[in-house]
């Protein structure tokens, strides 16, 4: 009886999900994201299978661990994972928590990401040494997939609980920052590990982690070690059941707990429009756990990112922790207006409030991140002992702070992503809307844009030392002022449109208009432009900017995948310049193609006239 109910529930939920997916596929913008994500996923899955085919199981098991890590960490950056079917929708259904969570789990399988993971997990069958091992691989890979998805759902639920209390939000932020910094700094660690036996240790650890149990079973089957096969598979089953039980319990909590804010202190006082707006903004940073979470995340990411190489005794990155934190903070704050949702109406209906509001958001950003990153920079640069780094970081930091404070409001106004209003949100504090792809895209673009605001200061500092500092301060002030003014002007002119966007999201008609010009382009051109925008960062940053910084800071012992560092003498600079030119022209081509297509779009002139 219970089983039949669970089956029927799962069946219906899968149908709901597929219906939602069908609608998503009709939506040009989301289709683009799904296809891009799917393509990248397929490439990664193919890579995993290739590793398995090469027979290098030590590497395979580590790769599988990375897949699982992706499932656990991914939702944090993609707005709390897939929330097509929220448990809240079903609270009034006469279903037991276990039935509902099983149903939701099965429904979670009906998506693009699980299919791609399934393809990647086919590597288990390929890694099998003989027929028996290949047969064992089938249950192993299915169980492994279930574990991936369950771990992902459980992680989201656990973060959800943590984010409801201040201490929890801080812990979650620290953990996320550590994990993300770890994946980003992997190249440095791997370079060091290759020559030692750390690689073996890593593989051993990855076999002990649940992500490796499937492979352990397959390997054991190949050797005929059936006891081990049984133990590994049983381990996956038990772990899966445990995670399911825990997840159901957390779902009950999520759908029944209240979400009222905590106690508040005395109102911050203000005496005029400027201080009124500023106090309003600072309150959000100190009271909204999600804001706090972002702040702690950005700061600790910068610290972890630059301190991890300390494990190898390499201190050259220490001075850059402050600047890295600023860049990350800007990327995390790129959707301020979207995050506040339709509350924008209260500013919009107040004559002359746009200016104070934008400047207040900038000031709050600088107050939260400015002093902290300055102290971090001073302390860590002093600790690193690289005297030559002083003029560089002290030029770059003010430039970045100003650039970030400017770009944060500009992108919040120009590229706002609608989110669900705070009081209507689901019990998942990570999920603030439905458009993860767009949010992710803006995070990446902001990382690039904000980082590039320090270019003038950096160039001057590299050539003329301390002269970089005034240039950095000047360019910071300019960026703060100019981008802020841009945001204010835009709000003055197009405020109602922004409110409409935040209120209703993008209507299918608007989207059609947005993509109409693109649709008119030949398909190859559209694809090429998309690829250029998607991958232009690779030649520009890791292949040009990063090796340039390495060379300038005199770091010669790390080559990793930086092509230029494998050259000799002047060729290094030539490769760096060529790569930078390639990256920039990819961006230019992609950007121009989109821009021209948009200008030609039939509705564009109407929209412009209305503005």
């Amino acid at each position: 009886m219970a089983l039949a109910l669970t089956y029927n529930t799962s069946h219906t939920l899968v149908r709901m999900r597929l219906a939602a997916l069908r609608h998503a596929l009709r939506d040009q913008l989301r289709l683009t994201w799904i296809v891009t994500g799917g393509f990248v996923g397929l490439v990664l899955a193919a890579g995993t299978i290739w590793v398995a085919a090469k027979g290098d199981n030590d590497v395979l098991v580590v790769v599988l661990a990375v897949w699982m890590l992706g499932w656990v960490v991914g939702p944090l950056f993609a707005g709390g994972g897939d929330e097509t079917l929220r448990p809240e929708y079903f609270t009034m259904m006469p279903l037991s928590p276990r039935t509902l969570s099983t149903g939701l789990l099965v429904a979670a399988l009906a998506g693009v990401a699980p299919v791609i993971s399934l393809i990647a997990l086919l590597s288990l069958a390929i890694a099998g040494a003989n027929v028996a091992a290949a047969l064992i691989a089938i249950p192993a890979l299915l169980l492994q997939l279930f574990c991936f998805i369950l771990a992902s759902r459980l992680a989201v639920a656990v973060y959800g609980v943590l984010l409801q209390v201040r201490a929890g939000a801080v812990i979650a932020a620290l953990v996320n920052a550590f994990i993300l910094a770890f994946t980003a700094q992997g190249w440095a660690l791997i370079v060091a590990f290759v020559s030692t036996d750390v690689q073996g240790t890593l593989a051993k650890a990855a076999r002990i982690a649940p992500s490796g149990w499937g492979l352990v079973a397959v390997e054991a089957a190949g050797r005929g070690d059936w006891l081990r096969v049984l133990a590994a598979l049983a381990g996956l089953v038990v772990l899966g059941v445990l995670m399911l039980v825990a997840w159901s319990a957390l779902l009950v909590r999520r759908t029944t707990a209240s979400r009222a804010g905590g106690k508040v202190g005395r109102p911050l006082s203000g005496t005029d429009p400027r201080s009124g707006a500023a106090a309003k903004e600072l309150r959000s940073w100190t009271r909204d756990l999600l804001y706090g979470h972002k702040a702690v995340f950005a700061i600790s990411y910068g610290l972890f990112f630059c301190m991890m190489p300390l494990a190898l005794g390499w201190k050259a990155m220490l001075p850059w922790a402050g600047p890295a934190a600023v860049v990350m903070a800007a990327a995390m704050s790129a959707n301020l207006y979207g995050a506040d949702g339709t509350a924008l109406w209260s500013t919009l209906m107040t004559p002359g409030a746009n200016g104070p509001d934008v400047r207040a958001r900038q000031r709050a950003f600088l107050l939260v991140f400015g002093p902290l990153t300055l102290v971090i920079t001073l302390l860590l640069t002093w600790w690193s002992g690289y005297a030559s780094a002083w003029p560089l970081v002290l030029s770059v930091l003010p430039a970045l702070l100003g650039g970030a404070a400017g770009l944060v409001v500009a992108s919040s106004v120009y590229a706002a992503v609608p989110t669900t209003d705070a009081h209507k949100r689901s019990g998942n504090p990570l999920n603030s809307g439905e458009n993860e792809g767009e949010t992710m895209g803006i995070v990446y673009v902001m990382l690039v844009l904000v980082a590039s605001t320090c270019a003038p200061a950096l160039i001057v500092a590299l050539n003329a030392g301390w002269w970089g500092v005034p240039i950095g301060v000047l360019s910071g002030v300019l960026a703060w002022w100019y981008f802020g003014r841009l945001a204010i002007r835009r709000l003055d002119r197009r405020g109602p449109e922004l409110l409409t966007l935040l209120r209703h999201g993008r209507s299918p008609a608007e989207q059609a208009r947005k993509t109409a010009g693109l649709d008119a382009l030949p398909k190859w051109k559209r694809t090429l432009a998309g690829l250029c925008l998607g991958f232009g960062a690779i030649p520009l940053f890791p292949q040009a900017v990063v090796p340039a910084i390495f060379k300038l800071t005199g770091n010669d012992d790390t080559r990793s995948w930086f092509l230029a560092l494998y050259q000799t003498g002047p060729w290094q600079w030539i490769v760096i310049v060529l790569m930078a030119a390639l990256g920039l022209s990819m961006y230019a081509f992609g950007g121009l193609t989109y821009y021209r297509a948009r200008k030609r779009a039939p509705g564009a002139s109407v929209a412009a006239a209305a503005g």
């Binding site: 009124g276 309150r283 959000s284 509350a343 109406w345 209906m349 409409t500």
Partner: protein
């Protein structure tokens, strides 16, 4: 006679659908004006365009002769708005919302403090002083929204469903406040589904259906001898259902 709100040919198209279609409306100064209409008739869309929250595809809106879209700041100083279903600065308390929005409007600090305290007290929100807006009930949100609309003592109030989800005691309070506002020379435009309320409060009404005004005038003009409810049902061209079918509902 001076017009508190004048809408001429307002049009809004969402995709294929004309949500508001050449809608025109005049609200004389000093009147309590009710906008009636079935769900999806375009009431909220029209009122949003009338006050500057949604840009119309065509037509004009004027508040006391000031064009809402050409002289936005000037028009917005004259009007107080209670929108339906829009967010609030969620992480602030009610008192903070009023204080900061008042400061943003350029009111002096002590004046803002006095007005906020009075509004909160009258609307019975003052004992919730340590509660952030995110913890407010729907009715409390409405009341706070009304307080925001009243804070700068506007000449015109535009209220979208002001009585929705508000308890009877608060509703009586709000009615009293609105009557005093009219008596003090203000004008009110209010949308509502509740016929009895409109009949009791308003002196003039307009009925909106399919994005157009199908009838407008004094209450007795629109009623035309029947009850307001009957007049409404026949005006929007609907027939009440529910008498047939649904047999499976009886036990």
């Amino acid at each position: 006679m001076e017009q508190a709100l004048e809408l001429v040919g307002l049009t809004k198209v969402f995709g294929e659908e004309r949500a508001v279609d050449e809608l025109s409306l005049s609200v004389p100064a000093g009147s309590f004006f009710g906008v009636l209409g079935p769900n999806g008739a375009g009431k909220t869309t029209s009122l949003s365009m009338a006050v500057g929250l949604l840009r119309p595809d065509g037509g004009t809106a004027r508040i006391f002769g000031v064009d809402v879209w050409r002289e936005s700041p000037k028009a917005k100083a004259l009007v107080g708005v209670l929108p339906d279903g829009l967010g609030m600065p969620e992480r602030l308390t009610g008192r903070e919302v009023l204080t900061y929005l008042g400061l943003l409007r350029g009111l002096p600090e002590d004046e803002v403090g006095r007005r906020a305290a009075e509004l909160l007290e009258v609307l019975e929100l003052d004992h919730e002083d340590d509660k952030q807006v995110i913890g407010y009930s729907t009715g409390m949100r409405k009341k706070l929204g009304l307080a925001v609309a009243l804070l700068h003592a506007p000449r015109l109030l535009v209220l979208d469903e002001p009585f929705e989800a508000v308890d009877p005691v608060s509703a009586a309070t709000i009615r009293t406040i609105l009557h005093r506002f009219i008596a003090g020379g203000g004008s009110v435009v209010m949308s509502s589904h509740v016929m009895a309320l409109v009949e009791q409060l308003c002196d003039r009404i307009a009925v909106v259906a399919d994005g157009k005004v199908v009838a407008a005038g004094t209450v007795s003009e629109v009623q035309a001898g029947a009850t307001l409810e009957d007049a409404f049902v026949s005006l929007v061209g609907a027939s009440t259902r529910g008498a047939d079918g649904l047999t499976w509902l009886s036990h």
